[in-house]
């Protein structure tokens, strides 16, 4: 049967993608950001999964205001990097895993989470920047990826609680898949940031550090945090952090197993307008 071996959490700042694509990673401004991912790149090589289930949000690229799915699972064979207005990122196309994705959709919907099934969509920096941070600049991404898009653009995003419970349902779905696949689940976005209005540039280190602590030790309690706390304390775009709770809800310890090992933890301010947070948790 398939199993979830680890979860990875990371911000997905577009400027990070641009820094990689334009060869700026060694510049003094960017160097501290990428240093935080050196361990992670080696770790991913040593712990290469068969599939990555990647939770992210689209930023008005695949989804305009014509359709706003709260949860959308990508079931296509491949996904093209989007042209977000600056031209598409020069990164490999993303190969999907239609069979596992369809299996997860069927299982999770029957568990009361009404996913939107997407057979055609482009993927934006929300998905490709985490891959770049964890893989560098390969000719092809190391394994198939199932994109899982969450609406955090038009308020309200799903609640932290809903995301956390969804993570549990995704775990159950993966564990009922017949092939012995090693699956990682990644939660992306955050940490504190605000991109709009006179309060733009907001960063709240105390909030971010407490969020990382609680994500590790008390995800159940953290999942009860209301939207307004994210907005007020972590900025209007900090609400992306609810997506981390999907990945966390899929881990063993909150489903009757042992606590995870914290393999890596990193935090840095700033990357452009944003605080960068990153965690790797391994199941035991």
């Amino acid at each position: 049967m398939a199993r979830i071996s680890a979860s990875v959490y990371t911000s997905h700042v577009p400027a990070v993608g641009a820094a990689i694509d334009l060869g700026k990673t060694a510049e003094p401004y960017w160097q501290p950001v990428f240093k935080g991912y050196e361990f992670s790149k080696q770790w991913l090589k040593d712990h290469k999964p068969d599939v990555i289930f990647l939770v992210y949000n689209d930023h008005a690229n695949a989804f305009s205001l014509e359709m706003i799915p709260t949860f959308a699972i990508g079931t296509a064979a491949e996904f093209t990097p989007a042209d977000e207005g600056w031209g598409p990122r020069p990164v490999p196309k993303v190969i999907g895993h239609p069979k596992l994705a369809a299996h997860i959709a069927q299982s999770v919907i029957q568990d009361d989470f009404d996913l939107t099934v997407v057979n055609k969509m482009d993927v934006d920096h929300g998905l490709t920047v985490p891959l770049s941070l964890m893989c560098g600049q390969p000719q092809a991404w190391p394994c198939p990826v199932i994109p899982f898009a969450v609406n955090v653009v038009q308020y309200p995003a799903p609640s932290g609680r809903r995301c956390y419970m969804l993570g549990k349902a995704i775990r159950k779905a993966i564990e009922s898949y017949d092939e012995p696949l090693n699956v990682q689940i990644w939660g992306t976005g955050g940490m504190s940031h605000q991109l709009q209005g006179p309060r733009a540039g907001l960063i709240n280190k105390e909030f971010d550090k407490a969020f990382l602590d609680r994500l590790i030790a008390d995800p159940e309690g953290l999942s009860a945090m209301p939207h307004i706390d994210y907005v007020r304390e972590a900025g209007s775009e900090g609400i992306e952090l609810v997506m981390w709770l999907i990945a966390r809800g899929a881990m063993s310890d909150v489903n009757g197993g042992k606590p995870p090992t914290v393999r890596h933890r990193f935090y840095h301010v700033p990357a452009s307008n944003t605080a960068v947070g990153h965690l790797i948790l391994e199941n035991n």
Binding site: P14, A15, A18, Y29, H59, A60, N61, S64, L65, E66, A82, D83, E84, G85, W86, G87, V153, Q154, Y155, P156, S192, Q194, L195, Q196, G197, P198, R199, A200, G201, L202, I203, N204, K205, E206, F207, H227, I228, V231, R232, E233, S236, E237, V269, P270, S272, N273, A275
Partner: protein, 129 residues
């Protein structure tokens, strides 16, 4: 019964909820059209004519022409959509975000390098700093 909107008292912040989305539908869909290179070129060649193809309010069109992002947001724009205008102009996300704060580009960048805007005094409208 009206909906609870506890985010109305967060200073300098407009939450893009369903009401704002309704208000800004055509403005945001215009922005979305700039994802295509040929539309970016047509917009740049004659901004007013391109805007007139969209059923936007005159206020929204003026806000776009002035690149007044705060005004665009007050009229229902969402930053991720408005970012397409910035991309068309060759602006970075940091330049766009900074333009809404009343700071110069350099001041904003320096603030971010120094750890960003503090949360202290920035939680509630009218809070003492």
């Amino acid at each position: 019964m009206s909906l609870d909107k506890p985010y109305k008292d967060v200073p300098g912040t407009t939450i893009f909820d369903a009401d704002m989305s309704r208000l800004g539908y055509h403005l945001n869909q215009f922005c979305m059209s700039l994802m295509k290179a040929e539309n970016r070129a047509r917009f740049k060649a004659n901004e007013r004519a391109y805007l007139d193809e969209w059923p936007m309010s005159e206020e929204q069109k003026q806000a776009v022409l002035a690149r007044d992002l705060n005004r665009c947001i007050a009229l229902g724009g969402n930053i991720y959509f408005l970012a397409k205008i910035g991309a068309t102009d060759g602006k970075s996300f940091q330049q766009m975000a900074g333009s809404m704060t009343g700071m110069t580009e350099e001041q904003y960048r320096d603030m971010m390098v120094s750890g960003g805007r503090s949360i202290e005094g920035n939680r509630y409208i009218g809070e003492k700093k």
